[in-house]
């Protein structure tokens, strides 16, 4: 990785309303990773944390102009630059 002063966080560490630019997607399984890619979470895309479900999980995120629900555990494996 090139040295840069940009902070790297996992997506679940962002606060509600905060945005982040995706750097890298890891996942518990090939299936889940492919699903996330298919739904538009690709490197470079900007994601906003919109809302957290009343029971604390999953998260409602805004990506590519629509709302997507993803569990915290899966967001924890997505690296972002907070914006």
């Amino acid at each position: 990785m090139p040295t840069c002063d940009l902070q790297i966080l996992s997506l679940d560490q962002l606060k509600t309303g905060q945005k982040g630019k995706v750097i890298k997607i890891e996942s518990a399984s090939k299936e889940i990773k492919r699903r996330l890619l298919d739904m538009g979470i690709t490197p470079g895309v900007v994601i906003e944390i919109k809302r957290i479900a009343p029971l604390g999980d999953p998260y409602d995120i805004k990506v590519r102009d629509y709302d997507l629900c993803v569990r915290k555990a899966d967001l924890a494996l997505i690296e972002v630059h907070p914006l």
Binding site: P54, C69, R71
Partner: protein, 659 residues
């Protein structure tokens, strides 16, 4: 022409399908592809339109995507209509880029044209069409605009023919080109890209794919699937920048409604209230109002027919066949049509307004604890109408364990056919608390589902990775046309079943109850053929009924044919066993006099949780993928029901004795 209609979930696909085909629909089956989809006809039957499942990609990992893909590759449609939601255009076009790789002509229907002004959307259709080399037509499925133009273009085949588009970066395209040259099959580009993605379903046919993948993974520093997916989205972003402008983002109404329905404190109470109202109104209030009334009408009609048939000289046995067999059996089931109409309307509204996905969203955390997904809730709620569509709806659940558990647990939800059993018993044995008792059974079913989930998770399912990835669509006003059609289809099916399976079973039950083994008519029901058969089973049910009742036992077993048959059978036997004219309720017959509230509740519980009807068993077999797993499910369900029935009877009887 054979046309496949394909698009994302919530893209308005079903609305478009209904608008194009009207009432000209049937369920289609294709040998080789295990997919059952609606088929409709357009342009006076010249073209066949197939409604494929709502999907986001042609990846190999979800069942619906794999099936749609198999359909496109094997059934060779002449044309694809790809419906696109203009308000989430990037994600919609992602599927389009994959469809473009197939060697099939395509027309893009750009939906939500009626929303363009409101959202400040402006699209350069001509430029979009030119860049994609595909005909694009602006439509509104809801307002039915642009549909004539769409049909015209299909009729005259005046759409652009398929052309290969190179959408990836040059070094990726170069490798795709190499592979295409070595694949001597139809859809070579599609297959080449799938091979690059290491697609587990497509065979590599001796090609050394790794040789090509390695340098790509090294140069992009990420795995190949990411490179391909990102390549598609990069292409779409560039395309969008040149053709698409949107001023207002988000949906104001949705934001407002979500502030209430997804509120941290209000979400769960509101949900509980909505569910309570749905079942309390349709099962409780309306139930007690309509069932007594219609039941009275039907028994009056049965009595009239009996007298009339005898007055024109029909023999007693034939008059009895019509009155006590056919009318009593079918009538016992038809009683429940008004309740079902209301229940189906309310479920359909939950689904079509977008609230159902939100329930899945905020209950996921809770369900995850029990080894299920929030998405399991959708099959469960649909299952309260009918288990079969409920079981089919499990296809959207990502995790295999969660999906299998949901399939096995959906039949535990009291479906509409079990509703007659609940309504009948609740109103007869608990006349002052019928609504509450009915509701308690729905609550009990949730407890049983969660309990079973824990048992299954502990003993049978060792855990595959699970996820909850779901679009949260905007709230929509219900489409009245769709709701009416949806409810009509389901009610029609229920009535059709009453006129066929239930009618036939009722005649058989009438015969077995009216005749002895020596084929003598008019014997006492206790001497009938059925009584002898039933006595064998009555020992099984003794621990939960506290009585050896052949009539009840034999009726419970008929629940396999259709759950409403339990009530029909009890009605036929009850009617033949005694001459009840006043307040003609099935359970007034002396043959059922042994029932106590405890045994009535236990019997209801057994019928709710034991093996579902043959239709639902078939659906379980299909979705679980093997007969062995199906038998395991049936054994589990019936075992659970049996133990529960006995427990309820014994515990309630002891408590009743103490009071």
């Amino acid at each position: 022409m054979r046309i496949a209609l394909i698009g994302n979930q919530n893209s308005g696909k079903t609305t478009l399908f209904n608008a194009l085909t009207g009432s000209n629909q049937k369920i289609g089956n294709w040998p080789g592809v295990t997919i059952e989809q609606k088929v409709g006809y357009i342009s006076k039957g010249n073209h066949e339109l197939i409604d494929l499942p709502g999907i986001y990609s042609l990846s190999p990992y979800t069942i619906e995507e794999a099936l749609s893909r198999a359909f496109l590759l094997q059934e060779k449609p002449d044309l694809i209509i790809n419906i696109i939601d203009a308000t989430s255009i990037e994600r919609s076009l992602y599927l389009t880029t994959q469809l473009m790789e197939l060697n099939i002509d395509m027309v893009i229907a750009l939906n939500m044209a009626d929303m363009f002004d409101k959202k400040g959307i402006s699209i350069d259709i001509r430029a979009l069409s030119e860049k994609l080399q595909t005909t694009v037509i602006k439509i509104s499925a809801l307002k039915r605009s642009g549909l004539n133009e769409l049909i015209d273009i299909i009729d005259h085949q005046s759409y652009m023919k398929h052309q290969t588009q190179n959408i990836f970066k040059p070094n990726v395209e170069k490798i795709i080109g190499h592979l295409v040259n070595q694949i001597h099959q139809e859809h070579a580009r599609f297959i080449a890209i799938k091979l690059l993605e290491k697609d587990p379903i497509i065979e590599s046919e001796g090609l050394d794919i790794d040789k090509w993948i390695k340098p790509l993974e090294q140069s992009y520093k990420q795995d190949i699937e990411t490179t391909i997916a990102a390549g598609r989205y990069d292409y779409i972003e560039a395309l969008k920048a040149q053709t698409f402008v949107r001023l207002h983002h988000g949906d104001h109404t949705t934001e407002l409604l979500d502030r209430v329905f997804l509120n941290r404190w209000l979400a769960l109470p509101i949900f509980a209230l909505i569910m309570f109202l749905i079942y309390y109104i349709s099962v409780g209030v309306i139930g007690t109002l309509t069932v007594d009334f219609i039941d009275g009408q039907i028994s009056a009609f049965a009595g009239f027919m009996f007298d009339w048939l005898q007055s024109i000289g029909a023999s007693t046995w034939s008059a009895s066949l019509v009155a006590d067999g056919m009318i009593a059996g079918v009538g016992a089931v038809l009683n429940f049509v008004p309740q079902l109409i209301l229940l189906f309307i309310l479920i359909s509204l939950l689904e079509s307004t977008g609230y159902m996905t939100r329930i899945a969203f905020f209950l996921d955390r809770l369900f995850k604890k029990f080894g299920l997904s929030g998405k399991s809730l959708i099959p469960f709620i649909l299952g309260s109408g009918c288990s079969i569509p409920g079981i089919m709806a499990t296809r959207t659940i990502e995790g295999q364990d969660e999906r299998r558990m949901s399939i096995m647990l959906t039949p535990f939800i009291p479906c509409s056919a079990k509703l007659p059993i609940i309504a009948l018993f609740a109103s007869f044995f608990f006349p002052n608390h019928a609504g509450l008792v009915s509701f308690s059974l729905y609550m009990l079913s949730i407890v049983i589902i969660l309990l079973s989930a824990i048992i299954m998770k502990t003993f049978f399912f060792k855990g595959t990775p699970s996820a909850f990835i779901s679009e949260l669509p905007n709230y929509k006003l219900p489409d009245i046309r769709y709701t009416i059609r949806d409810v009509y289809d389901k009610i029609y099916e229920f009535i059709e079943k009453a006129g066929t399976i239930i009618l036939m079973s009722s005649i058989i039950i009438w015969f077995l109850t009216s005749f002895s083994f020596r084929l003598a008519y008019g014997v006492d029901v206790d001497q009938s053929i059925l009584a002898y058969i039933g006595r064998v089973f009555s020992y099984l049910f003794y621990p939960m009924l506290g009585e050896l009742s052949w009539a009840t036992s034999v009726s419970a077993i008929q629940g396999l044919v259709a759950k409403e048959q339990v009530v029909s059978s009890m009605a036929v036997i009850g009617g033949l066993s005694a001459d009840i004219t006043e307040g003609n309720l099935i359970l007034n017959a002396p043959i059922y006099a042994f029932f106590t509230p405890a045994s009535a509740y236990a019997f209801m519980a057994f019928n709710l949780f034991s093996a579902p009807c043959f239709g639902a068993i078939g659906a379980m077999r299909k979705e679980l993928g093997s007969a062995k797993k199906m038998w395991q499910a049936i054994l589990f369900q019936t075992g659970m029901a049996y133990v529960l029935g006995i427990l309820i009877y014994q515990v309630f009887t002891i408590i009743g004795g103490l009071l």
